[in-house]
C-alpha cells in the first residue's frame, strides 16, 4: 500500500491522534464539562477584570502595568523549565503503543506542543497574564492586548519546547545526565547571583518582555504592528523545534536504559511482610526516572524561589501544599500503577490487602514529606529562625496537608485506575485532562489549608494550629479509611487490578 508523505502529513497525523485520544476518553461527559470549564475560565480571565477593577476600585492599571514585563518573562521561564523537566513534553500516545505506528518526530513535537496547555501551572499563568492585560487595557486596546498576549503564550510555549528538546539531545548523549545536572546547578546559582547583586528583577523585566509590555498596555496606536511579527516568530519557533525534536527522539533515553541495565545488589530479607512490601514500593518509586526528576524539580524549584525571594515564614507556609500536591501528581493519583502489569501477580500473593494498602500509602506519604521538607529547608535559609508558633504551625501544616493529599490520592487510585507505563520521563499517571482536574482540586485544597495555618502562625496562640488540625485530620483520616475499605473489598479491588494490568 503506498504511503506517500507530504509536508502536511504531520498535521494530519496530529489530527488523527488527537481524535483517537478524544474518542478513547473513558468519561466523555466529564471531559466535555472540564473543557467547557477551561474555556469559561479563559474567557472570564479575558473579559471580567476591567469590570472588577471598576467595581472594586482596586489599584489602578498603572500599578499592574509595572508587573507585566516580569509576568511575561516568568511565563517564558516556566515554559522552558516545564519542557526540560518533562523530557521534551507529553506523549500523544504512550511510547509502547505508538511504536507500531509511523508517527514522525515532527508529529511528536506538534503533539507535545498541543498537550502542553493541559497543565495547571501553565493555565494559571495564562489566566493571570490574560487577566492582567485585560485589566491594564480596559476597553481601549483590549483586542490587540489579548491577541498579543495569546501570541506570546504560543511563542513562549514553542520556545520552551524547542529548548526542552535541545536539552533532551544533550541528556541522551554521552554523560548527558551529568552535563544537564551541572548546567541546571550553574543556572540556579546564576539566578541566585543575579538576585544577590540586585539584577534579577531588572533582567526579568528587560529585553523583549519590556518591549512587548509597552505594546500590550493599550497606550500605543501602532501596537497592531507587533501582531504579525509575533505570529511569524511563533511559526518560526514551532518549525525550529522540529529539528531538536527529531534529533532527541532518535536517541535512546540513557537514564531509562541505565536503570534497566544496572545491577541492584541483593539485600537481606526484611523481618516483616510490611517491611518487604515497603521495600518493593520504595524501589518502584526511587528507581523511576520521571519520579526522581519530578521530585528534584518540585522540591528544589519552589525552595530556590523562596531562597532567592527571601520569603517570610508566612509566605513559605504556602509552599509545602504546592509541593505536596505536585508530588502526588507524579504517581500518587494512580498509586497502583507502580506495579504495572505485575499487579496481577502481586494480587495472587497471600498477604492481607490492608497491609498492601498501608505500605503504598506510607510510601506515598514519605515521598511527599521528603519533597516538602527539602523545600522548607531551602526556604528557611532566608526566612530565618521561625518563632515557636511558626514552627508549630509549619509542622502541623506538613502533617495535615500530607494526610489530606495521601487520603484523596488513595481514594482516586481505587476509584479511577489507569493502565499506564511510567517508564518514560514523558509519561503521566493519568490522561492529561484528568491530570488538570486532579491538580486543580489538590492545589485548591492545599492552598486553602496553607492559608489557614499561615494566618494561625501570625497570632500569639500556640495551641491554635494543633486545634485547627484536629478536624482537618479527622476528615482526611476518614477519607483514607474509606479508600482502604474500598481496596479491601474483593470486587472493587479486582477491577483496579484488571484495569492497571491492562
Amino acid at each position: 500500500m503506498p504511503t506517500a508523505r507530504s509536508w502536511t502529513d504531520p498535521l494530519a497525523d496530529l489530527w488523527h491522534l488527537l481524535r483517537f485520544r478524544a474518542q478513547t476518553v473513558r468519561r466523555p461527559r466529564a471531559a466535555a464539562v472540564a473543557s467547557v470549564v477551561l474555556v469559561v475560565c479563559t474567557l472570564a480571565a479575558m473579559l471580567v477584570p476591567p469590570h472588577v477593577g471598576a467595581l472594586a476600585k482596586v489599584g489602578g492599571p498603572e500599578q499592574v502595568v509595572g508587573y507585566l514585563p516580569s509576568m511575561l518573562s516568568g511565563f517564558l521561564v516556566l515554559s522552558i523549565v516545564s519542557a526540560i523537566s518533562g523530557g521534551g513534553g507529553r506523549e500523544l500516545l504512550p511510547r509502547d503503543q505508538a511504536a507500531i505506528h509511523p508517527i514522525t518526530t515532527t508529529t511528536e513535537h506538534l503533539g507535545a506542543l498541543t498537550l502542553s496547555p493541559l497543565n495547571l501551572a501553565f493555565l494559571l499563568q495564562v489566566w493571570l497574564l490574560l487577566g492582567a492585560t485585560s485589566f491594564v487595557t480596559g476597553g481601549d486596546g483590549w483586542l490587540v492586548g489579548q491577541l498579543l498576549v495569546l501570541l506570546w503564550i504560543a511563542f513562549g510555549t514553542a520556545l520552551g519546547q524547542a529548548v526542552g528538546w535541545t536539552v533532551e539531545i544533550v541528556r541522551r548523549g554521552e554523560r548527558g545526565v551529568a552535563i544537564v545536572r551541572t548546567i541546571s546547578i550553574v543556572g540556579a546559582l546564576g539566578a541566585l547571583g543575579l538576585h544577590l547583586s540586585g539584577r534579577f528583577v531588572p533582567v526579568l523585566e528587560g529585553g523583549p518582555a519590556r518591549r512587548l509590555a509597552s505594546f500590550v498596555d493599550g497606550t500605543r496606536a501602532d501596537a497592531w504592528l507587533a501582531v504579525p511579527v509575533l505570529l511569524v516568530l511563533t511559526v518560526i519557533m514551532v518549525l525550529v523545534g522540529v529539528l531538536p525534536a527529531g534529533a532527541a527522539l532518535r536517541r535512546s533515553p540513557r537514564d531509562e536504559l541505565k536503570v534497566e541495565s544496572g545491577i541492584h545488589p541483593a539485600r537481606p530479607l526484611p523481618l516483616s511482610d510490611a517491611a518487604m512490601l515497603l521495600r518493593m514500593d520504595r524501589a518502584a518509586v526511587w528507581r523511576s526516572v520521571p519520579m526522581r526528576r519530578g521530585l528534584i524539580v518540585l522540591a528544589l524549584g519552589p525552595g530556590l524561589v523562596a531562597l532567592v525571594g527571601a520569603m517570610s515564614w508566612g509566605s513559605v507556609m504556602v509552599l509545602p501544599g504546592l509541593v505536596i500536591s505536585g508530588g502526588a501528581l507524579l504517581f500518587g493519583v494512580n498509586a497502583w500503577c507502580l506495579d504495572g502489569r505485575g499487579v496481577l501477580w502481586r494480587e495472587s500473593l497471600p498477604v492481607p490487602p490492608r497491609t498492601v494498602f498501608r505500605a503504598r500509602a506510607r510510601v506515598l506519604a514519605e515521598w511527599l514529606i521528603g519533597a516538602s521538607a527539602i523545600t522548607v529547608t531551602l526556604a528557611s535559609v532566608r526566612a530565618g529562625v521561625p518563632t515557636l508558633n511558626q514552627a508549630i504551625s509549619m509542622l502541623t501544616l506538613l502533617l495535615v496537608v500530607t494526610v489530606q493529599v495521601v487520603s484523596v490520592c488513595m481514594l482516586w487510585s481505587g476509584r479511577r485506575p489507569f493502565s499506564v507505563n511510567l517508564r518514560s520521563a514523558r509519561a503521566t499517571p493519568a490522561p492529561p485532562l484528568v491530570m488538570v482536574g486532579y491538580s486543580s482540586r489538590l492545589a485548591v485544597t492545599t492552598t486553602f489549608t496553607a492559608l489557614i495555618f499561615s494566618t494561625a502562625s501570625g497570632g500569639g496562640w500556640l495551641w491554635l494550629s494543633p486545634v485547627l488540625a484536629v478536624p482537618l485530620l479527622f476528615w482526611s483520616l476518614r477519607t483514607l479509611r474509606r479508600a482502604e475499605q474500598q481496596w479491601v473489598a474483593p470486587a472493587p479491588r479486582a477491577v483496579v487490578v484488571m484495569t492497571v494490568a491492562g
Binding site: 544496572g262 541492584h264 541483593a266 495472587s348 491492562g502
Partner: protein, 234 residues
C-alpha cells in the same frame, strides 16, 4: 478423593460483559489439565478466579477444599500463579520478586532453590536487573519461575509458552512434570495445542465463557486431534 479444583456453575461479570458464563471444572492432584479455547473464551478469567485475584460473581469455586469467595488468602497460600499478561513488577529485580514470595509465604532456605530455578530458566545472569528491560520471553520464563518457586499444591500457568524459546519451553515442561510428580494439581491455559498435549493429561475446551468438552489429552493429538479441536471451537 475430592478434586483439588472443583468449580460449579462459575459466572464472572464485569458490568454488562459476562466473561465466564457457567463453567464447571474439576482437576485432580497429580494431574495436569489443559485449558483450551479461543480468545475471549474465559480461560484467563477462570485462572484469575482460581488464583484468588478475581472474585466469582456466581457459582462455587473450591481450591484445595477452600472456597475462593470466602477465604481468598488461604487459596492464595495454596496456589502458584503465572498470569497471562506481564506478571512482573517493572522496577523490581527477579531476586526481589523471589524475596517477596519467600517473605510472604514464609519459605526458609529459599536462596538455593531460587538460584537453581533462575539458572534452569536461563535467568541467572539477570537476577539483579529490573524486569522492565526484559524481553517478552524472559518475562514469561520468570513468571513461570515465580509461580513454581514455592512448590504450590495448585500450579496455574496462563500462556506459559507464549514467545518462549525452546530452552524455556523445556524448562516449563519440566516444572509441570515436577509438580505432577510431587502430587500437585496443574492447570495450563494455552493456545499452543501441541505443547498443551505434551504437558497435560486431560484437556478442557471452553467456548464463549462455558465448557464445551472435557477429554483425555490424547484425543486432541495429531491431525485428527487438530480437526476435533477446530470442530469444538466453531
Amino acid at each position: 478423593m475430592p478434586p483439588v479444583i472443583d468449580v460449579h456453575d462459575l459466572h464472572v461479570r464485569f458490568g454488562e460483559v459476562e466473561a465466564v458464563a457457567g463453567i464447571d471444572l474439576s482437576a485432580e492432584a497429580g494431574q495436569a489439565t489443559a485449558l483450551l479455547g479461543r480468545n475471549g473464551a474465559g480461560k484467563s478469567t477462570t485462572m484469575r478466579v482460581l488464583a484468588g485475584v478475581v472474585p466469582p460473581t456466581e457459582g462455587t469455586v473450591l481450591v484445595g477444599g477452600v472456597d475462593v469467595a470466602r477465604d481468598a488468602i488461604s487459596v492464595k497460600r495454596l496456589v502458584g500463579y503465572c498470569p497471562d499478561v506481564g506478571g512482573l513488577v517493572p522496577l523490581a529485580t527477579p531476586w526481589e520478586h523471589l524475596q517477596l514470595i519467600a517473605r510472604l509465604r514464609r519459605i526458609d532456605d529459599w536462596e538455593t532453590r531460587s538460584r537453581d530455578l533462575l539458572e534452569r530458566f536461563d535467568l541467572g545472569d539477570v537476577s539483579h536487573r529490573v524486569t522492565s528491560g526484559f524481553s517478552h520471553g524472559m518475562s514469561r520464563r520468570l513468571s513461570v519461575v515465580l509461580a513454581a518457586f514455592h512448590q504450590p499444591d495448585v500450579l496455574l500457568l496462563d500462556e506459559p509458552f507464549d514467545g518462549v524459546d525452546p530452552i524455556g519451553v523445556d524448562a516449563t515442561l519440566d516444572v509441570v512434570a515436577d509438580a505432577r510428580a510431587r502430587g500437585a494439581c496443574v492447570l495450563v491455559s494455552t493456545h499452543l495445542r501441541d505443547l498443551a498435549m505434551q504437558a497435560c493429561t486431560t484437556a478442557v475446551v471452553l467456548r464463549s465463557g462455558a465448557r464445551v468438552a472435557s477429554m483425555a489429552s490424547g484425543e486432541l493429538e495429531g491431525e485428527a486431534g487438530a480437526d476435533a479441536y477446530r470442530a469444538l471451537l466453531d
